[in-house]
């Protein structure tokens, strides 16, 4: 059996048995939902429905209802898209990259982080669809035998690469997540007493048996999917960044974008995981599985990726001057000192300064501080995309065309609505799905569980 150094902090606190793990995860699913769940679900549902209403109004009327104008043809739609895709990067990073690196602390958080990923990518995917204005012709982005004229879709365009990248990412993440869920659904199935629940979980668990051969395949499939998902995570946000990196607009002409966007995505994704898990562990009494050490590990990731993002901001600024291209230099000067200075400096404060506070051990182990920083980071990352997109185009080459972007209430409604829908999905997940990867946590119980780890009579030496 695998042994761990004695000084390494245990990942599972307290004296848990295999059965306790099952109990702790299945109890919240089998019990009645607490009143707080209904309240939160109600709020999220109302906000989500308001967003759906705004989307329907937009589709019925046209994208003129957004606050766009002839200079700023892209604003909140693409900002929100990149923001959500970025958030949707943590889950697969946690479950795939950390699986390849054999990081055991991922096991307590990967299930919910991946659920978060999938819901975030759903939200992201909505924006390119609705920004077409005519949602019903969305399938024109696919390379269909062409009945629509003489042209195929343009395979040289990063926007088309996006279509492939996002749909591959969403579907592969979904499959990866579900393959891991099957054995855990079987656990709930075998415990279920109510006939409806039994039936539902029987369908969801696909008749899983737990045979040795099946586990053998399960482990290989998880490993290979992790191996495939790892470059996928990096490629997806690189491709999203190509939308801006390959353009010739000053400010959208930066080759540093792919690594900078990927780091930013991991940064914001982990922040969202922190926001959700800090609440969830408390509400579902999972403190023994997701504790200070896990939070600290995630804070270290936030600190590292935050530093990469900060370095990228400053490099980008330096190169705009060093390039000697006056339009490029102006675009960046305008970001920092022009009419959108407040967005630029919000971004700088939230994304560059706040993660540096994680160098202090006391702060990165403080749950309240982590919670606040996680929200600050996500606000900062929204501003980052807003700064890149809106400030780069609001002043183009002819001063007569200079303009400002003011969001309409539909802009705001659609954005807030996606946050509502996201929480609707996440709350449903927390209510009906095993939020911890039961089968994985059980495998590390003996090597990283507090009561086994440093027990004097441990193992066969």
């Amino acid at each position: 059996m695998h042994k761990e150094a004695a000084i390494r902090e245990p990942l599972i606190l307290g004296h848990k048995t295999y059965h306790d793990v099952t109990e702790d995860v299945c109890k919240p699913i089998e019990d009645k939902a607490p009143r707080m769940w209904y309240i939160l679900f109600g709020i999220a549902l109302i906000i989500g429905l308001y967003g759906v209403g705004c989307i329907l109004y937009l589709l019925g009327t046209g994208i003129g209802v957004w606050g766009l104008n002839k200079t700023i043809g892209w604003a909140w739609d693409i900002t929100n898209f990149v923001w959500w895709v970025g958030i949707g990067h943590a889950g697969t990073l946690i479950s795939a990259v950390l699986l390849l690196f054999r990081q055991k602390w991922r096991m307590a958080i990967n299930r919910s982080a991946e659920a978060m990923t999938i819901f975030a990518v759903f939200m992201a995917g909505m924006f390119p669809l609705i920004h077409m204005g005519r949602l019903w012709v969305g399938y024109w982005t696919l390379p269909l035998p062409n009945h629509f004229g003489s042209l195929w879709v343009n395979f040289n365009s990063p926007l088309l690469w996006d279509v492939f990248a996002i749909s591959t990412y969403l579907s592969v993440s979904l499959v990866f997540w579900y393959i891991g869920l099957i054995p855990d659904f079987a656990t709930i199935r075998d415990r279920a007493k109510k006939p409806v629940a039994k039936r539902m979980y029987t369908i969801l668990s696909f008749g899983w048996s737990g045979r040795a051969k099946h586990w053998n395949r399960f482990e290989l499939v998880s490993l290979v999917l992790a191996g495939l998902a790892t470059p996928l995570v990096f490629s997806v946000h690189s491709i999203v960044s190509f939308d801006f990196a390959t353009s010739v607009i000053p400010g959208w002409h930066t080759t540093i974008f792919p690594p900078y966007f990927v780091a930013g995505a991991v940064f914001s994704g982990f922040a969202m995981v922190q926001t959700l898990l800090l609440v969830m562990r408390k509400a579902m009494k999972l403190e023994a599985y997701i504790h200070t050490k896990h939070v600290e590990y995630m804070n270290i990731v936030i600190m590292v990726t935050g530093s990469i993002v900060g370095t990228a901001y400053i490099t980008e600024l330096f190169i705009s001057w060093y390039s000697g291209v006056e339009y490029e230099a102006y675009a960046f000067l305008n970001r920092a000192t022009g009419p959108y200075w407040w967005a630029y400096w919000s971004m700088m404060t939230c994304n560059v300064i706040s993660p540096q506070l994680m160098w202090f051990r006391k702060l990165r182990r403080s749950l309240l501080f982590t919670f606040i920083i996680s929200i600050v980071v996500n606000i900062g990352m929204w501003f980052e995309r807003y700064v890149i997109i809106v400030t780069s185009i609001h002043r183009d080459y002819i001063p007569a065309a200079w303009s400002m972007h003011y969001p309409s209430h539909i802009d705001i409604g659609v954005y807030i609505g996606t946050i509502g829908l996201f929480f609707v999905f996440f709350l449903l997940f927390a209510r009906y799905f095993p939020v911890l990867a039961l089968n994985e946590v059980k495998t590390i119980l003996k090597s990283s569980g507090e009561s086994y780890k440093n027990a004097p009579d441990h193992g066969h030496h």
Partner: protein, 178 residues
């Protein structure tokens, strides 16, 4: 003909593994092991071969690479070459760099979904199939060894029973199966 199947239940994976080793050393053929999570190191003991799904994933992936290459060559070079921004589209090689992202994505798409579908089919785990484990506790905290009398014809039922009881089990269940 009805067949006698014995299910020995354990409450610890290490005990099951030691027990399985003992049984196999005595020449007992273990038909199956059921567990709530993968028991590392059980496969060679009970003679489960490593899966070849990895090879399948590779084949699906290569298929994806080829389809993407052929597809984009047809769309962008053969059927309707477009002059985009003055960049030439006359041969596949001229334009290949722009095709790499989609080639990669499509490779991953085919490999991941192909392997996942093959995995579910090979396991015979699909929506609507009833639970196949012998005891509902095997998805919680119990571990089961399944031994079939027909595969161990050299031993009598009593001998098998005694050998199983010697391995630290907590319960022994017997069933007649068709």
């Amino acid at each position: 003909m009805a067949e006698r199947v014995m299910y020995a239940m354990y409450d610890d994976d290490e005990v099951l593994k030691d027990g399985a080793k003992k049984l196999v050393a005595k020449g007992v053929k273990i038909n199956e092991v059921f567990s709530p999570f993968p028991i590392h190191g059980i496969d060679p003991i009970i003679g489960v071969k490593n899966t070849r799904l990895g090879i399948m994933a590779f084949i699906y992936g290569i298929t994806g690479t080829m389809l993407a290459t052929l597809g984009m060559r047809y769309f962008m070079v053969v059927d309707w070459p477009m002059n985009i921004g003055g960049k030439p589209n006359f041969t596949y090689l001229d334009n290949m760099l722009a095709f790499i992202p989609i080639t990669f994505e499509f490779t991953v798409l085919c490999a991941a979904h192909g392997m996942a579908i093959t995995y579910l089919l090979r396991n015979k785990t699909l929506p609507g199939i009833p639970a196949q484990n012998p005891d509902p506790r095997t998805t919680d905290d119990k571990f089961v060894i399944e031994v079939r009398a027909s595969e161990n014809a050299q031993f009598s039922s009593e001998e098998l029973e005694n050998m199983l009881k010697d391995t630290g089990l907590i319960e022994l269940d017997q069933k007649e199966m068709k």
